[in-house]
């Protein structure tokens, strides 16, 4: 784990779970797998708090445990899973586009709580949806259940490994920790539940009016003693499936940018057909025949078979090699080269970064070296048609930032510099890694700056929140316009200006985080796909 990753994990954990969990989590990420007492001793926190923190982290799938010999249980943190927390808004938004509000809320609840039983999810989501509906309408549990089943069928949510029901045949003491198991076919099996009911609206105004102090309310709601029918069966969001979806989206939009809408639709159809048959980390999809593709095109598209064939030929001949032809039976067998597609996307990202950082002439040199693989200094100047001095300057700038690397080819065994060829080359994998590292640093900087800005203006923010609360309560009890006006004037005009600026800055920083995360996703997918092939 690089320092940049650890710093980013630390910021994320602190924002989402507080300082104590952050301390434990970062310690585990730094030092690897450790037992409970060592963690408590090294971090200097009390055992009780370490236990609570570990419970929270395990609940959210950020830490796993393993029983080692002599009954010692060791805990290990999953750094990459912590970094996924940046992507939660994107997961939830994707669920919204695919399964509308119900699906969005289901995925949101699962991400916020780590793991939940199906009945708990359905109940919570129904309650939340009922809140937003008009008075008198409620959301039925059946509808939420249906959406849940659909999410499970398309593998967007999956079952967590569970404790196997042992018959306790061994007379020894029970193991210090349960071993959780799950097999492939059970992962998406929805238990047969008959969840009948409707969402409840939380009538907060009535309860407040009776004058009960707020402390009493949680006790009422936690009071249901009904047995849970699917006890022990927990569900979690399947992040890999979301990643597969993002990757498909990326490929389709790349094709749309490069060619046209119809070709992107064809590629989207091909990807949809391969969702179930191809594992997510395969280098290319299963071959699909042109006839099959024609049959599976979306209903609205009425292009003739011949036009489809022409498009497919065009796609297969494209130098980017997103689509490849693997045979001629069935009207032509076509595959999508997933690995090559990811490589192209990563390369495009690198080129774009070089262009934005160093200028378009540098970008030209970069693309040239990419294309020709190895070039000498003189050849670069000739091919790029850029004067020698400038070409050298640009090459050295890119070299110093590690976008380009040097390959030495000695002519003599003593590697004398005057008798060695120095060739410039681009190693895409290492450049992608370098860029990924910079992305982690960028996001860490963005988060720090946002926290700094918020802290600077903390007093002002609190004041504005108080004023808003006062206005809201006054409006609820019916107040005159003049009184509201007076309260609003408690915040002076320059303060309002300051608040506006703060809001704009925080929004910009947040939006930047989300968009840097998209780059991170691309680069990580490419690196992962490359590593799997080696």
């Amino acid at each position: 784990m690089t320092q940049a990753e650890i710093k980013l994990c630390s910021l994320l954990l602190q924002e989402h779970f507080g300082e104590i969990v952050e301390k434990i989590g970062v310690h585990l990420i730094r030092t690897g797998s450790q037992p409970l007492r060592v963690i408590a001793h090294d971090t200097g926190t009390s055992l009780d708090q370490v236990k609570k923190a570990l419970c929270v982290l395990i609940q959210h799938n950020l830490v796993i445990y393993q029983v080692h010999k002599r009954g010692v249980v060791e805990y290990e943190a999953q750094c990459s899973r912590v970094l996924r927390m940046l992507r939660y808004p994107r997961y939830i938004y994707t669920a919204k586009t695919l399964y509308s509000d119900t699906g969005e809320l289901i995925v949101e609840e699962l991400l916020l709580n780590g793991k939940m039983t199906m009945s708990a999810v359905v109940k919570k989501v129904a309650d939340r949806l009922t809140e937003t509906m008009e008075d008198g309408k409620t959301m039925d549990y059946a509808e939420v259940s249906n959406t849940f089943v659909r999410l499970a069928d398309t593998h967007f949510v999956q079952r967590c490994p569970f404790v196997p029901a042992t018959e306790n045949s061994d007379p020894g003491p029970p193991p210090p920790a349960p071993t959780l198991v799950i097999n492939e076919k059970d992962m998406y099996l929805v238990p047969k539940l008959s969840l009948i009911g409707k969402g409840k609206r939380r009538r907060s105004s009535d309860e407040d009016a009776t004058g009960e102090p707020k402390a009493k309310r949680p006790k009422h709601t936690a009071d249901n003693k009904e047995p849970i029918p699917d006890d022990g069966i927990y569900w979690q969001a399947n992040l890999d499936r979301f990643h597969q979806h993002f990757r498909d989206q990326g490929i389709v939009s790349a094709v749309a940018n490069r060619m046209d809408q119809t070709s992107s639709e064809i590629v989207r159809t091909m990807l949809r057909m391969s969702e179930i048959t191809t594992p997510s980390n395969a280098p290319f999809t299963q071959p699909l025949s042109s006839n099959e593709i024609f049959r599976s095109l979306p209903v609205g598209y009425n292009i003739s078979k011949q036009v489809l064939d022409q498009y497919l030929t065009l796609l297969a001949d494209d130098p980017l090699e997103f689509v490849g032809k693997s045979g001629d039976s069935g009207g032509g067998m076509y595959v999508i080269n997933l690995h090559k597609a990811l490589g192209s996307l990563a390369t495009a990202t690198l080129e774009s970064v070089v262009q934005e950082r160093f200028g378009s002439r540098c970008a030209r040199i970069f693309r040239l070296v990419l294309q020709k693989k190895h070039l000498e200094q003189k050849q670069v100047e000739d091919f790029a048609m850029i004067p020698a001095k400038e070409a050298k300057d640009m090459l050295y700038k890119m070299l110093s930032e590690n976008f380009i690397s040097l390959q030495e080819i000695p002519k003599t065994p003593d590697h004398a510099p005057s008798r060695t060829f120095y060739l410039y080359t681009v190693n895409i994998l290492s450049a992608a890694r370098m860029l990924l590292h910079r992305c982690y640093k960028s996001i860490a900087n963005l988060i720090e700056r946002r926290q700094f800005e918020t802290k600077e203006n903390k007093r002002l923010l609190e004041k504005s929140q108080r004023v808003e609360a006062i206005i809201a309560s006054m409006q609820a009890t019916g107040a005159e316009e003049a009184q509201l006006q007076e309260i609003e004037e408690m915040i002076t005009a320059p303060e309002r200006q300051q608040l506006e600026t703060l809001k704009r800055n925080v929004n910009k920083l947040d939006a930047s985080e989300i968009q840097v995360d998209e780059t991170i996703f691309l680069l990580e997918s490419y690196i992962e796909s490359t590593m799997k092939r080696q």
């Binding site: 507080g18 808004p89 939830i92 938004y93 949101e108 709580n113 022990g232 910009k508 939006a511």
Partner: protein, 223 residues
Amino acid sequence: MAGNKGRGRAAYTFNIEAVGFSRGEKLPDVVLKPPPLFPDTDYKPVPLRTGEGEDYMLALKQELRETMKRMPYFMETPEEKQDIERYSKRYMKVYKEEWIPDWRRLPREMMPTKKCKKAGPKSKKAKVTGQGTSLTNPADVLKKIEELEKRGDGEKSDEENEEKEGSKEKSKEGDDDEEDDAAEQEEYDEEEQEEENDYINSYFEDGDDFGADSDDNMDEATY
């Protein structure tokens, strides 16, 4: 060697012209400090993407941040005691729902130890009797011996119930320190309670042995 032209004169081992400098002496100055922290960039960054999806995700992100702070998983750091306790603080506390994890899925050492006062000596007893095969290291053994020496005579009868609970829930290693502390605290309390009244505890419990033991009690007057 053959490459050594001109003794004492600097000679480059490579062709200087290949790097871009002519044979004159106009090499740039050596930079003696690290590069600046915020260097000037020639090219300004591209503006962010805007759109419906981006706006929605932004709102989601900010909402999630707020929601996470109110969830029971967010562990608040206990604040240091302030000089004056503000009256309003009592009413501004956000009441969070208590979250109980599913203990069946977690290692046994994760369960919290019961911190009630009477639990100390009970757990000691459970540890000593029930779990003779526990993994001990020398420090723990010494501590245990110390505790046993310090412990008083009588066990109150109403604490028997808690012993059973204690032995079920506690695990071997994870609770050593906690139990020691709890036990020490508990014993201190017992001693305090003993000091508050002049009666010795054994006076009431050992009803049958009253006559026999009275010779051993130092407070009784001896004739």
